[in-house]
Amino acid sequence: MEINYHEYLREKMMPHIWCSGCTHGIVTKALLRAIHKAGLNKDKVVVISGIGCASRMPGYLDFNTLHTTHGRALAFATGIKLARPDLHVIVVAGDGDAVAIGGNHFIHACNRNIDITLIVLNNNIYGMTGGQRSPTTFEGDISSTSVYGSIGQPIDVVNLALGAGATFVARSTSYHVQQLESYIYSGIIHKGFAVIDAISACYTAYGRRNKQKYKSVVDMLDYMKANAINISAAKEKGQAELKGKILVGIFRDIVEPEYCEEYAKMVERIKNKK
């Protein structure tokens, strides 16, 4: 059955606080469709976030929702999941939340392969605090703390997740709504830790400051449309050709022992010994 968003929203909290054109809302809807498709029981879904514009999402959703501290959502989620492995635990985080202050929990959640789905609403900026540079801000781009252009290569969320050992890793964009939905869906049904790097657009705090690239919020979506390239297609291109491109696709999808299950097995082992 097709989704009725209203069933998943806390309507009295709407309209949400996001700016006009902020694509965090697009990702939210993709998440809801994925949850709907997976047929999860709302009482068993927990959505957890840190602090930031992206992290305001759970407040609008009619699940068990937890808005924690900046960067720490995955650690809270780990406690919840281990305490109640039957719950579906989904974490949503901004790029700052996920890989700046939250970087340590990010890599350890990847390594632990605990059955949590993380969606990084990656808009390459600190939206909530007014547009400071984030670790995913592109080299040369202007932000309120990189007025002369950001120094250095941005962190690649996908590579980081791969390096840290995540078992499901994918990327899509707010433009590619159906692809995004399907990756989130795959992440949710994946047994183990899943990371979806969801490219999002913040015109207010980022686009506006980089007019040479984006004249409007629509330009930011157009940019995604024009520059997304699937990893299979990318394989045939050279380094130079891929410069500035957004690689999308499923980068890894493997089955490895999941943390809570391993814990349960350990308990069984001990019991049997006794």
Partner: protein, 180 residues
């Protein structure tokens, strides 16, 4: 005794009320040797929603930096009119935008409606400059700073290349009052 003049600028985010407050304060503080304090209240996210900017002007030390005995209130939305007219001083001036505020209420204040937004759109061609139109009107109505000083402050603050536009908007505001 010394004077303390409180201006409250209210409306919605995006109407440029903070810049308006800054120019008012700067005029008084830098070009007229007075003291001035400007402050604003932020919503949870500092974007959209109600916006409020207070400017206090005085010839002596300003202690409390927020307006609490408002002498002059600018309201550019219905919501802000409803909320802030309740909190002005007896005899204060209340300036509202005559198209954006539909329902006004009389009180112990001098109520003045001006087509600030329309002027910005029609005369200048940019609703964005509603704050600068308002600046002209406020100064002309309150006489709290001199028009020529405000012009100086204004021209220093606005982005290069927009000076003429802003000057035009400013005097459009001044004229609205002169025509009253």
């Amino acid at each position: 005794m010394s004077f303390r003049y409180e201006i409250r600028l209210s409306g919605s985010g995006g109407q440029g009320l903070i810049l308006l407050g800054i120019i008012l304060g700067e005029t008084a503080a830098i070009y007229e040797g007075k003291n001035a304090v400007q402050s604003q209240s932020y919503g949870p996210e500092a974007r959209g929603g109600m916006s409020k900017s207070d400017v206090i002007i005085s010839d002596s030390e300003i202690d409390y930096p927020k307006a609490y005995n408002v002498d002059f209130l600018l309201t550019l939305t219905q919501q802000s009119f409803d909320k802030y007219t309740q909190e002005v001083k007896k005899g204060a001036t209340v300036l509202y935008d005559s198209t954006l505020v539909h329902t006004t209420r009389e009180g112990d204040y001098r109520l003045i409606g001006l087509p600030l937004n329309d002027t910005a759109i029609k005369d200048i061609g940019k609703s964005m400059v509603i704050n600068i139109v308002s600046l002209g009107a406020i100064i002309k109505l309150s006489n709290i700073v001199k028009v020529e000083n405000a012009e100086k402050a204004l021209l220093k603050r606005v982005p290069r290349g927009t000076e003429e536009l802003n000057k035009k908007a400013f005097y459009a505001g001044v004229n609205l009052v002169e025509k009253l």
